[in-house]
């Protein structure tokens, strides 16, 4: 079983290309990576948009990925026409509407059981986010929500990989400082505070965090590259990911 946090891009080829491969192992690994990156955003999106009960949303999510596999929907994806993220969201919408209309959901899974889908964790996250579906009624808001959840999913797995990377490199302190400053988000925490707490100089704290941020960005870009259908899409997504916070 593949953990959702495990990194796919061993070969650095696009997950879309790998999913279309004739090699079953390659295809299976690619689909696992795709599910790992997208199941949670899609689950949360369906929960909010269609106000489905958790169990129903879980079935639809699993059913959608099974459909993706069975009907080879990825082979129809054209990177020149849309982003993979948008394509998957539109496919999920279409699938969910049909399923809800038919009201005939059944347990499905197929090859996607390779990925452990932690739906209860996703539910906890939804509760922690205290999102009121009524507060985001417009399709645009839901698209933004889906995009944000996709970024959250990508960054969460990136953080996991960064943590493992830091452990193998003996950089646990750098990760701990990065976690305290960037992830835990304590109000008004300064580098000076961290320096005092950890018995380091401010310059050391600065250097550790700067290193961890660089590595975070590198890993995130690697993962993003693998999840895009083309270089153009990668370029656009990279800009969205790291360029739009400067508005």
């Amino acid at each position: 079983m593949t953990s959702p946090g495990e990194s796919f891009p061993l070969t650095r080829i696009s997950v879309v290309a790998a999913a279309r491969s004739q090699d079953a192992t390659e295809r299976s690994r690619a689909l696992d990576a795709l599910f790992a990156a997208y199941w949670k955003p899609i689950y949360k999106y369906l929960r909010l948009k269609y106000a489905q009960a958790p169990q129903d949303a879980q079935d639809i999510t699993q059913g959608f990925f099974a459909e993706l596999l069975e009907r080879e929907l990825l082979s129809r994806f054209d990177p020149a026409k849309s982003r993979l993220r948008t394509y998957l969201r539109v496919c999920a919408d279409s699938f969910a509407l049909n399923e809800i209309k038919a009201a005939s959901r059944k347990k499905r899974g197929g090859e996607i059981t390779h990925v452990a889908l932690d739906f209860s964790g996703a539910e906890d996250e939804l509760r922690a986010q205290t999102i009121d579906p009524a507060a985001i009624p417009s399709p645009e808001s839901l698209e933004e929500f889906f995009e944000k959840e996709w970024i959250r999913s990508l960054f969460s797995s990136t953080v996991e990989e960064l943590k493992s990377f830091c452990e193998t490199r003996g950089k646990q302190q750098a990760f701990a400082l990065f976690e305290s400053y960037d992830l835990d988000g304590e109000e008004n925490l300064s580098y000076s505070d961290l320096a005092v707490r950890n018995g380091l100089s401010v310059t050391d704290v600065n250097n550790h965090i700067a290193w961890a941020r660089r590595e975070f960005r590198r890993i995130a870009m690697d993962r993003l590259h693998a999840l895009c259908g083309s270089e153009e899409e990668f370029s656009r997504e990279a800009k969205t990911l790291f360029g739009e916070s400067l508005k």
């Binding site: 906890d124 944000k148 992830l183 580098y191 965090i209 400067l246």
Partner: protein, 335 residues
């Protein structure tokens, strides 16, 4: 897997940009990145105006560079002049990095601006405004030490601003760190005409001290004790050469000899061969503009006559026309 809050996402997405929370500023776009720091456009939420915010790069925010940035802000604060970008505020970010804000100059860098200006007198008048700002700084005991086209901005109303005082030196100030031997790092961008110059001279402590092509020989040799107003005058000479060099087809004639002489004197190898101060340099350029003799160049009789003609062209033509008419009248009257 760790759940990342919205705040954490924002921080991670902007991890390459400074976190301005807790300050009165909101970050906008990246404006410029230099050897020492980065300049961003920011919005002053209290005064509702756009400012430029200069901050050190995260990875390089050493104590030495922090001290240099604070020093730069303090020097700028002393130099209240229309030709020098005014500093507004100094502060510290949550990550401990020091920043300062200054006027956001909307305009063009000198090299870009000159692409629109082909008239030599206009270019020289622009150069004189740079001289005004540098002369003012010298009068306050401050040397710029990194004058080059990239450090001059021309605003949307034609105002000229001398920027980036990061390498400035206060003449009466003794700085032990700067008395270290300076090592020159060869650069491909060593020509004054090269528009993409970078400050590439460093001391043994990694302190940037000038830009090849615009930096005086004594700066390049690391003779810190010899650096004076005349070192900036060398840079102004290189800048004058750049300003008067015109690539446009209609202006491909050679630079007038007096102007070449001014550049030559400003850029003399030995400091005592240069102008004594910026005002003398500016005076020569002004006299050239007015068609007057300049101190840097001895004219021969023909050049004097040529200049006399240029300066009094209208009067000479009127007198000549009068004499011709008079001659014609007398000629026909006595026929």
């Amino acid at each position: 897997m760790k759940f990342l809050s919205d705040r954490a996402l924002d921080r991670l997405r902007g991890s390459s940009v400074p976190d301005l929370s807790g300050t009165r500023y909101e970050l906008r776009e990246l404006v410029a990145r230099g050897g020492m720091g980065v300049v961003y456009a920011a919005e002053d939420a209290k005064l509702n105006r756009r400012v430029a915010l200069k901050i050190l790069d995260a990875a390089g925010a050493s104590e030495e560079l922090t001290a240099r940035l604070i020093r730069e802000a303090r020097i700028l604060a002393q130099l209240e002049h229309p030709g020098i970008v005014p500093v507004h505020d100094v502060g510290t970010l949550p990550d401990g990095r020091v920043f300062y804000t200054m006027k956001f100059v909307e305009g063009l860098r000198l090299d870009k601006y000159l692409e629109q200006i082909t008239s030599l007198p206009q270019r020289l008048r622009l150069f004189l405004r740079i001289c005004d700002a540098v002369a003012f700084a010298h009068a306050r005991g401050v040397l710029h030490r990194d004058l080059k086209p990239a450090n001059v901005m021309v605003g949307s109303f034609g105002e000229v601003l001398v920027m980036d005082w990061g390498l400035a030196k206060i003449l009466q100030e003794s700085n032990p760190a700067e008395s270290q031997e300076t090592v020159f790092l060869p650069s491909n961008s060593a020509s004054p005409g090269n528009k993409s110059t970078k400050s590439t001279v460093v001391t043994g402590h990694g302190t940037v001290l000038g830009t090849p092509g615009y930096m005086s020989p004594e700066q390049a040799r690391g003779q810190v004790e010899s650096i004076s107003e005349r070192s900036d005058i060398f840079s102004l000479g290189a800048l004058l050469k750049f300003v008067t060099a015109d690539d446009s087809p209609e202006k491909n004639q050679a630079l007038p000899r007096p102007l070449r002489a001014i550049c030559g004197k400003a850029m003399a190898e030995r400091p005592d061969g240069r102008y004594a101060n910026v005002n003398d340099l500016a005076a020569d350029v002004s006299r050239f503009l007015d068609g007057l003799p300049i101190s840097a160049y001895s004219e021969n009789i023909f050049e004097k006559l040529g200049r006399f003609y240029q300066r009094h062209q209208v009067a000479i033509l009127l007198i000549t026309a009068y004499l011709v008419m008079r001659f014609l009248v007398l000629y026909f009257f006595h026929r």
